[in-house]
Symmetry: C2
Subunit: 561 residues, 2 copies
Amino acid sequence: MSHPHPDLTLPPPLPAGGLRVVPLGGLGEVGRNMAVLEHEGRLLVIDCGVLFPEDNQPGVDLILPDFDYIRDRLDDIEAIVLTHGHEDHIGAVPYLLRLRADIPLVGSQLTLAFIEAKLKEHRIAPLTLAVREGQVEQLGVFECEFVAVNHSIPDALAVAVTTAAGTVLHTGDFKMDQLPLDGRITDLRAFARLGERGVDLFMVDSTNAEVPGFVAPEREIGPVLDQVFSESTGRVVVASFASHVHRVQQVVDAAVANDRKVALVGRSMVRNMGIAAELGYLKVPDGALVDIKQVENLPDDRVVLMCTGSQGEPMAALSRMANKDHKVSVGAGDTVVLASSLIPGNENAVFRVINGLMRLGARVVHSGNAKVHVSGHASAGELLYCYNVLRPRNVMPVHGEVRHLVANAALAVKTGVPADRVVLAEDGVVVDLVDGRASVVGAVPCGYVYVDGSSVGAITEVELKDRRILGDEGFVSIFAVVSSQDGTVLAGPQIHARGVAEPDDVFDAVLPQLTQALEEAVRGGATDSHQLQQVMRRVVGRWVSGRLRRRPMIIPVVVEA
Amino acid sequence: MSHPHPDLTLPPPLPAGGLRVVPLGGLGEVGRNMAVLEHEGRLLVIDCGVLFPEDNQPGVDLILPDFDYIRDRLDDIEAIVLTHGHEDHIGAVPYLLRLRADIPLVGSQLTLAFIEAKLKEHRIAPLTLAVREGQVEQLGVFECEFVAVNHSIPDALAVAVTTAAGTVLHTGDFKMDQLPLDGRITDLRAFARLGERGVDLFMVDSTNAEVPGFVAPEREIGPVLDQVFSESTGRVVVASFASHVHRVQQVVDAAVANDRKVALVGRSMVRNMGIAAELGYLKVPDGALVDIKQVENLPDDRVVLMCTGSQGEPMAALSRMANKDHKVSVGAGDTVVLASSLIPGNENAVFRVINGLMRLGARVVHSGNAKVHVSGHASAGELLYCYNVLRPRNVMPVHGEVRHLVANAALAVKTGVPADRVVLAEDGVVVDLVDGRASVVGAVPCGYVYVDGSSVGAITEVELKDRRILGDEGFVSIFAVVSSQDGTVLAGPQIHARGVAEPDDVFDAVLPQLTQALEEAVRGGATDSHQLQQVMRRVVGRWVSGRLRRRPMIIPVVVEA
């Protein structure tokens, strides 16, 4: 196992007959998954997802993979293979299609339906190729065989890409529920067959590699929901992810069994479950669903609200119910189920919602006190099965933070993959598969691309640093109008502050000192406004630091009139 | 169990002979624990701690209990009883003593040593009364018996307060390790004796009430540390809390057993362990400790660095090591142990540190993959023991968020305490114990008091809201100089922005429109700068919202010259 080296340089040209893999997202983070495969000058993209920002990326809406590496080679792209319909695998497709609209999208029926709905909002009509498990498609120089995998969304696929350089098996996201609700298991037979034929590079989901053992079957949640629903004397509210068709299916089933109607709440929930029902992935008995408007006319114990907001998102229905700011009120006798994981970083927000609901008297059931969630990603035990069935010649852990990638690499080594055949790479690291051997050959620049309002890539670390300072410390602005003739102060200085501890008039105390400093500077020969601004920043900065023991952003402006 | 009612009004006067309890912090949050007991016009304070801010309280250093309720009654306070030396129980004492310096502090030897060290930094020399377990002190009208409890810091005490109204037993923070390192168990015999005599109100730590079962003994960590130390071929770095004497003791013991020297890193770690060693709570064999400066001269496999920063604090040694920004380098062959909990809200920061260390090649051992931490708070199983031994007449869960208080209340009810004798209160809710019955009688105003730099209480929700907007969206400032005679624009308008997606010159596009709007406003009769500022705000706000799809803070300033 070699750790990615920070001093990597641009890679040499890819040797003839070799295959190059460049991850542009998802290696070193959970999200924005995207890999670019290259062979004989042609490119194949696997997934193109978004990453959600952390607390040190304030205000950012989304983070995209960095397309710079392929920006000048868009015409070389044969297709984008989408392994499944989660945002962290399809969410950045609209931004890539903005650069070239006719790149074909290849994926399963449900995956394509989800991305097409999203693209419609962006007013893009894509070229698509729907594929099923077992199907083989020649996409330019890339022969792609699609393999069924089980995940927390139906219709997920792994893809085996064969070229003259050998076979790469990319799992997408997967787990190995042996009793899935739809009977569609991860196809270990296909894995075995591919293994017999020879897998030269295994790119494998690392998300749960640190977790020992096996993920419990999704179907174990159904009886728990049934029990919770039957115990509740009031309304039941269930929050989960808006794409988790099988979770929603079990909520619908438990509702029907307990003579309750289900109302879907939240735009993405309504849209996705509409698609899933239309395509037959979600089976809704006649009359089981009602519109949210009808809920008020039903007795409390005849209702289930199925909503988003399980991560404590402040504008989602669940948070607003906890704050008594939603048309559906929740109180004593009602039960709220968070049938979801708690994504790291969201703890404060989720617990605020839970505390709010409990303060109102509701019972709150969540993965911390009942089995109402199972993960969608293979745990260590499942990964060991894969390594042993496949016996891959080289392994490249994908999808995860460094800790996940390292844990997955260790599992590979335990099953007998030689440590020097396990490639630890992060985003931008270039891995070449040549003569049956995968190795790191360099790195390409690969940064965070922030979507911020309507801007893409305009927000950089500079603006984020400014935001962090502004958010923690507030700012103080100072202005003065000086004569363009002789530099005398014509108006001001005025000081305004926001987000600091003291009212504006506290700054009156520094004004005489400031005026004096400006006058001295002018007498000393300072004439341009830049010099005078420096004087104002220094005087006020020193005073604020001494008085408030804080370091707000100081913005001095001198206007000449 | 009655939930605290948001419509509570100020309480009626306390009936003669009754006892009033007013929690000013710690009920509804984990931190700033403080309770005020009142009897016959006299007050007894139990604990006075700080709370650390969450992500929606940006820039804030500390949060204090709200002293407003006692501000005019400081002379009525008999004493402050400190149950133990953690920051969330003693950290606000300096701020209370600023209001009245001669309030006696009552606590165990180690607790008083920790608070005295802290007060020295604030240049306060307190009145103190050291007490031991088993000791009974008459503090004015309050007879206080101190009871040994086991916690994640030595020398913790519960306190039984007896007045004419009955006996209140306050646990402080505690758990019931039956094999503690120092042999000092939570004194169940004393609990039993108090129970026999009759406990009228049991105020009991709720922190782990949601966690089923029992906390594992602290001493089970020692062998794990020993194993980890013996496996490491390089340096060992251990991070934990700076007051966790027994954890540090086990690190010292494992280091000695593996022929390694320990260097303490971090101001609070050095200070607290110095106190603990001097008082005999930490036992350090001769020569076991070395100064951090000596580490460079020792072979890597002869060193243990014991440091702070286990919560991912960016300025602490551990984060700086992960960023290669510390004089001690960490790399392949080295082992880092996070012998600590992961406090909710700190996940992103902690995982950033773990990923950074693993990227450098270090092995990282933490509570997620090895038994290197146990909690300091009684789990549900232990709480049941307490309820059954004590058989309290009334119960008031303390110390925790609403979810913890509710879980603790449910445990009380399960052991047979009548539901109407279990009082669910949050900060500011007034509970009277009268004729052997505890009940909610009202509420007093009780807010968050923010320490922000040198200011205490000056930052309010208004400034925090400003900071959140500034942090998420940045700001745009606009100014113009207008003639005080005729309102014509003499200079500007100028626009400056920080933390927004576009460079300043993007705003050149709106300047003509802005100038025109100002001129129109002046022609229309707008003369005062307030009106003109509104015009500028509206024009630029609309433009920014359309162009950037964001809503930065807009600060218009018109200066008359």
